[in-house]
Structures are given as structure tokens and as C-alpha cells.
């Protein structure tokens, strides 16, 4: 690998030459960041190009092994790439549950055939993956899930219902937790399977959210066929994978509020709306609230960095992802509440082009789900209490 400074120089030049201008502006709408998959409609040609040139270098998944099309970069080089992208405000070329969840799980637990089949498609953004975990009666208590998966000799047959399946309507494939041993105790009879959602037996009904959008769905599974080769890891050992995946999901959700570095910051918004008086923000309560948020936000960023560095050097505690998820999502909710306060009533407009059809309000409402999806804040606190602090262990 090139030394860091050479790599930085080369990367900077390459990004300068290859990142289209429209991909260097802050993303606002959902569609501004590409999620890939067969149903994706690129907002413009530049979005397509940006995905293609980055995927070709494996830089949609910079730290994945090069043999499956990943960037093959180590942590330090990946950091440099991220920094250089942030420097010019480059958007992520691809965002997906393939990259943040099922990909890492396949790299760790998948068979060679599974890796060959799925990893290159994830890197190239060809397949949109959705996550089938939650069920109507099993949310926080996920391990109680009831969707049945039976061995039919040359294939499996899946029956049951999933809910809150984000973007199932846009997806190509699902990674799905199913019960393969109905007699085993809770965690012991679960497996992780992969299947194409565009097959008979899969019925998807979008659900409307308080934000007005419909990004998640009810998913009904009736006699869905799963090929034998699409069970990941060992049968009935799916809980371990599910937990591994949840760790990745939590880190991803926790860091979601970090946003685009070229986005206007809260202080900038506030200066615009409220103005300065003697060089400081005219509304002193707002000034304090913003500063406290900025302080916590930087503290959070340093913590994500530190925990990553500790993991790399073999220090640190497990279950750190719960702490990051809890702190990061609560922080993001606070950011959006604060933003309402800064913008005033206009932030609550719901329709009208001048107000981007309620974008601010819709984004604010969407953040409320951050502390629910991927395991609620309360569940993260339970995990910290039990696994890190060892509280309530009976003696």
C-alpha cells in the first residue's frame, strides 16, 4: 500500500478529477444519496457516474478485501479517503444495508459461494438489500420471532410476517431472521436466510410514517422459497449473526446524524436567523443550547474515533456499539429539535415549493425513529447495564 502522504496526494487529485460537481453539494433529499439496486432511479447522470467510478476502485467499500472488488484499504488509508472526500464535500457514492450490514456479515460468516455471488453486487450497488427482523409481536424481544423456515429437502420454505421492513418496496433481496427449530429455546432455533423478494409469496405493503414518507413496509411471507445455499452460517446459530449485524447497524444509525460536512452548521443557521450582537448570538439561551449541542457532538465524534482506535489496538470494551447508538441517536434528535427552534415557524410548513415541501419538518420527525430502529435507546441502556456494568447479576 502507498504510504499515507502519497496516498493522500493521489486520492486528492483523483477525487478532484472524478467527483462530479453535483456530487459535491450537500445532500438534502433522500434521493440525493444513491441506494443502488435494480429499482433505483438516478437523479441525474452524474450520480450514476459517481457510483460507477467509485465502485470500480472498490471505494464504495474501501476497507473490504480487493478479491471481491473492495478497496482493500486498511483503517488509516480509509480514514484518509474519508477525509479527502469530506474536504471537497463529496457525497457518499452509495449507502445501503448491503454495505453497512449484510456485507460485513457475509465477509465474516458467508461461504465462498455466497461471497462470490453477493459481495461484488453490493459494492457495485446492483442489489438493494432489506432487513427482515422485526415482527408484529417481536420487536425489542427479537429472539421470540415466529416466522417459520422448514427444510423441504432441496430448498427451504418460509412462512410468517415481518414488519417495519425499511424499503422492502424498493428492495431486491432480503436478509431475514427465521425460526428453524420451533422446539429450541428462543435464541437457539434461529437462522439467517437470504432470498429474492421479487417472487410469488412475498407481499409488500408500505406503511406511512409521521414524517409523511413511506419508507417501511409490512412484509408477508407465504411459502417463500429459499435456496439451500442461501442460509448464512450454521443452521440454528443465526442469533450470533443477528447480533453481529445489529452491532454494525447500531454503529451506522448512531453515526447518521454526522451528516455532510459542507452542510450549514447550527451556528451558521442561527447567525442567519437571529443575528449577532457584540459578536455573540443575540439570543443567549439559544447560544448556550447550540454550544452545548456542538460540544456533545464533537465529544461524540471523538468517542467514535477513540472506540475505533481502541478496537484496532485490541483495547476497549465490547458492547461499545450500544453506547454509540444511544448517544448518537439521542444527539441527532436533539439537533433537529434545536433546528426547529432556530428556524422558527417556517420549519413546520408541510407543503409548498418555497419550503421544499416540508423537508425540515419531515427530517425532524424522521429522527424520532433513530432511537427506535436497530434496538431502542432503552434496549441499548439495558445492554450497557448488563454487559458492560454487570448490573443485576444475581449473587
Amino acid at each position: 500500500m502507498a504510504d499515507l502522504e502519497t496516498f493522500r496526494t493521489e486520492t486528492r487529485a483523483w477525487l478532484e478529477a472524478n467527483c462530479p460537481q453535483s456530487q459535491r453539494t450537500p445532500s438534502e433529499e433522500f434521493e440525493d444519496i444513491c441506494w443502488g439496486g435494480t429499482k433505483w432511479r438516478f437523479v441525474n447522470e452524474e450520480q450514476r457516474t459517481w457510483l460507477e467510478v467509485m465502485a470500480e476502485r472498490g471505494w464504495t467499500a474501501p476497507d473490504w478485501p480487493a478479491e471481491y472488488g473492495g478497496g482493500g484499504l486498511d483503517r488509516e488509508h480509509t480514514k484518509v479517503l474519508r477525509q479527502e472526500m469530506a474536504r471537497i464535500g463529496a457525497r457518499q457514492p452509495l449507502f445501503s444495508m448491503g454495505l453497512s450490514m449484510i456485507g460485513p456479515a457475509l465477509l465474516k460468516y458467508g461461504t465462498e459461494a455466497q461471497k462470490q455471488q453477493h459481495i461484488p453486487n453490493i459494492i457495485a450497488g446492483k442489489i438493494w438489500w432489506c432487513q427482515g427482523y422485526s415482527e408484529p409481536n417481536f420487536g425489542s424481544d427479537l429472539a421470540g420471532l415466529q416466522t417459520r423456515c422448514e427444510d423441504k429437502g432441496d430448498h427451504y420454505l418460509v412462512n410468517g410476517q415481518k414488519v417495519w421492513t425499511s424499503y422492502a418496496n424498493m428492495a431486491d433481496w432480503m436478509f431475514c431472521l427465521v425460526r428453524t427449530d420451533p422446539d429450541a429455546v428462543k435464541h437457539a432455533g434461529i437462522s439467517l436466510v437470504l432470498f429474492d423478494v421479487n417472487q410469488p409469496g412475498v407481499t409488500i405493503k408500505p406503511i406511512r410514517l409521521i414524517s409523511g414518507k413511506s419508507p417501511f413496509c409490512e412484509t408477508f411471507l407465504d411459502d417463500v422459497i429459499v435456496e439451500k445455499g442461501q442460509l448464512v452460517g450454521e443452521i440454528n446459530k443465526g442469533w450470533e449473526l443477528a447480533s453481529y449485524l445489529l452491532t454494525h447497524e447500531r454503529e451506522m444509525i448512531g453515526s447518521m446524524g454526522q451528516g455532510n460536512t459542507h452542510e450549514k452548521s447550527l451556528p451558521e443557521h442561527a447567525i442567519e436567523q437571529v443575528g449577532l450582537s457584540n459578536g455573540i448570538l443575540a439570543d443567549s439561551k439559544l447560544r448556550t443550547d447550540i454550544a452545548c449541542w456542538e460540544i456533545d457532538n464533537m465529544a461524540y465524534q471523538f468517542t467514535a474515533e477513540r472506540i475505533g482506535d481502541e478496537a484496532k489496538s485490541g483495547q476497549g470494551v465490547g458492547a461499545a456499539s450500544s453506547m454509540l447508538k444511544y448517544a448518537g441517536t439521542e444527539l441527532n434528535k436533539r439537533r433537529h429539535e434545536l433546528n426547529l427552534g432556530i428556524q422558527g415557524t417556517q420549519a413546520l410548513v408541510w407543503e409548498g415549493e418555497a419550503y421544499k415541501d416540508g423537508l425540515v419538518a419531515s427530517q425532524w420527525l424522521r429522527t424520532k425513529g433513530n432511537s427506535i430502529e436497530g434496538g431502542t435507546s432503552e434496549i441499548q441502556l439495558n445492554i450497557i447495564s448488563k454487559r458492560i456494568l454487570g448490573l443485576g447479576a444475581s449473587k
Binding site: T288, M298, F302, E310, S385, L389
Partner: protein, 379 residues
Amino acid sequence: MALVLNEEQGMLKESAKGFLQENAPVGALRTLRDERDEEGFSRDLWRQMAAMGWAGILIDEAHGGLAFGHVGMGQVMEENGRTLTASPLLSTAILGVSAISIAGSADQKSELLPVIAEGKLLMTLAVDGGSRHNPLNVGVTATASGSGFSLSGEKQFVIDGHVADKIIVSARTSGSEGDSDGITLFVVDADAQGVEIDRIIMADSINSSMVRFVDVAVGADSVLGEPGKGAAVLQQVLDIGNAHLSAELVGLSLEVLERTVAYMNERKQYGVLIGSYQGLQHRAAHLFSEIELAKSVVIKVLQALDEGDDDVSMLASLAKAKVSEVATLATNEGVQLHGGIGMTDELEIGFFMKRARVAEQLLGDQRFHISRFAALNGY
């Protein structure tokens, strides 16, 4: 730079932990308090600390120090926060050393630093003219007199003032209170004619004092740095002080969390451990999460100090603001979750609460640093 300790820093932390827990646990502070010790710290302990090189952690090798840097010193301070050890580490080895290292002339450095490193000279920094920290509210004026100056006025809450051999004092040589121009730093002998020092017993039982200057005559050679330009030096020294106070407060918060969690796993009510109640678990878990944030801001500012980064002031205020908030939370929760016994002087948890508040106020509390953080960021 990776936000982790390197091997030597990790070893220093371990040895500091071992030494302080064995030789100066919270019980030692209690004894100093109960026996109304004249000096409020143990000279013998300080000799041992100096023998291990701690007095010179921030002093360069040419002047007899270890040149171990701020990350290293921060580890000792963090461990110090767990044991509440009374010593001149902050007044002398951090504030005094930093002021001289930053602004001292070659003569001042070679006269003072090696003796400090040997543990034979105690120093302090006298900053505040009032009860609320404000480095521009100087409280002492210096007027030209003969070839030197004459100092008059009062400094409040000067740590270790009554044991210090020399006091670094900020005084106004021109302008009026609130101006950053016109502040000059002086190194004054504590036993100089006209220096009056009253020890103040604080809630945390750690040394503080009021220092009055009544027409104290000092020579021109006692000026530290450039006359009138002391505010900038002071700023740097205060940033360093706040970074290390933050390190201390992180150690203190961690200790309180650990002791509280241990108690929750030992105390039973209604036939079960109180640690099995979710209402309490979540409070402890939230505190854990906050302390994780606090740890990160501290290592960040300590590294930035060692690297000489441009944003040190912003990071120092960030650290002090965040850590103060967290230490307040930790100590309040610590007392509450212990119940009645948490209110007793016998349990050590109260010592942590008292130290936390004093350390938070010292060199600027959470509010001061939130405001400074905002100002440094242009709003």
C-alpha cells in the same frame, strides 16, 4: 493520531494508579482534613512523587525534566482524580511549570525549572481577582517604581498559596479591568515584603488561599514574558490547567461510577439487588455513556497540547465544559444511588462530590467554558 495511549503512557498510568492507591488514597485526604494539617499535603509524599519524576513530567530534559508531555501528565491526573490525592502537582508541576516554560527567559528557566523538577520549589498561579473565574478581571495592579514595579491588590482562591515558594501573578500594568492588553505576569517570592497569604479551607479539603499584595516591590527581572502581553501567555497556561483538571475529573467520575455500580450489586432491598431495578440501571448506563464522551474530549485536548495544534483553546474549553457537566452528574447520582449512607461523611463518595465542584469552578466552570467555546467558534 490514534486516540489511544502509547505503551509508555499506558505504563505511566498503571504506575501512577498503583502508587497513588497505595500511598495516598482518599483516606489520606481525610486524615489531613481531620488532623487539620498545617500544610494540607504531605511533603514526604511530594518528595516521592518528585523522585518518580512527576514534578518534571512537563519539564524538558535540558532542565532536568522527563519531557513526557501532556498525555502523560494527564494520566497521572486522571489517577489522581480517583484517589483525591492532595499535592502540588497542579499548582507547581502543571501551572507553574507551564507558565515558566512558555514565557520564561533563559535565566528564569534555568533558575526555576531544575529545582521544581527536584521537588524542592513549590509554585502557584494567582489569576482571579474575584470569586467567579475571569482572567481579565485581574484584581492586582503593578505600577512602575524605580527600576521595577510595585504590586497592589488581591487574588482570590489561589491554590496552594500558603505553601508556595513563588507565586506567578497576573497584574495590570495598563488599561482597565476587562482589557486583554495591559496584563503583565510576575514571579514573586511568597515571602517578599507586603505579600499576605491567608489559607482558606475549602469544601474539598484541598489547599486554597487569598493572597494580598500591599505595595510589594519587585525588580524588572521578575517580569515573566513581555510586559503588557501577559494575557496570551495566561490563556495558554489556563488551557493547560483546564485540560488537566478535566483529566482529573474524568478519573473522579469513573471512580464514582465504579463504586456506585459495585454498591448496586451488593445492596438489597425488597429481597433483590437494587442493581436489578431497571430505573436505576438506566441511570447508571446513561452515566457510563456520558463518561465515555468525557474520556474522549480529554485525550483529544491532551494530544492537541502535545502536538501544538491551533485549536487547543477550543478543545480545552470543550473538555472542561463537557467534563464538568459529567462530573456533576456522576457525583449527584453517586450520592443518590447510595441512599442514606451516601450522605454520611464516613462514606467517601461525598469527598468526590466536594472535590468535583471545586475542580469544576477552578479556572472556569461549565458555563464559562460553554460561552468561551461559542465565542471561539464565532457565535
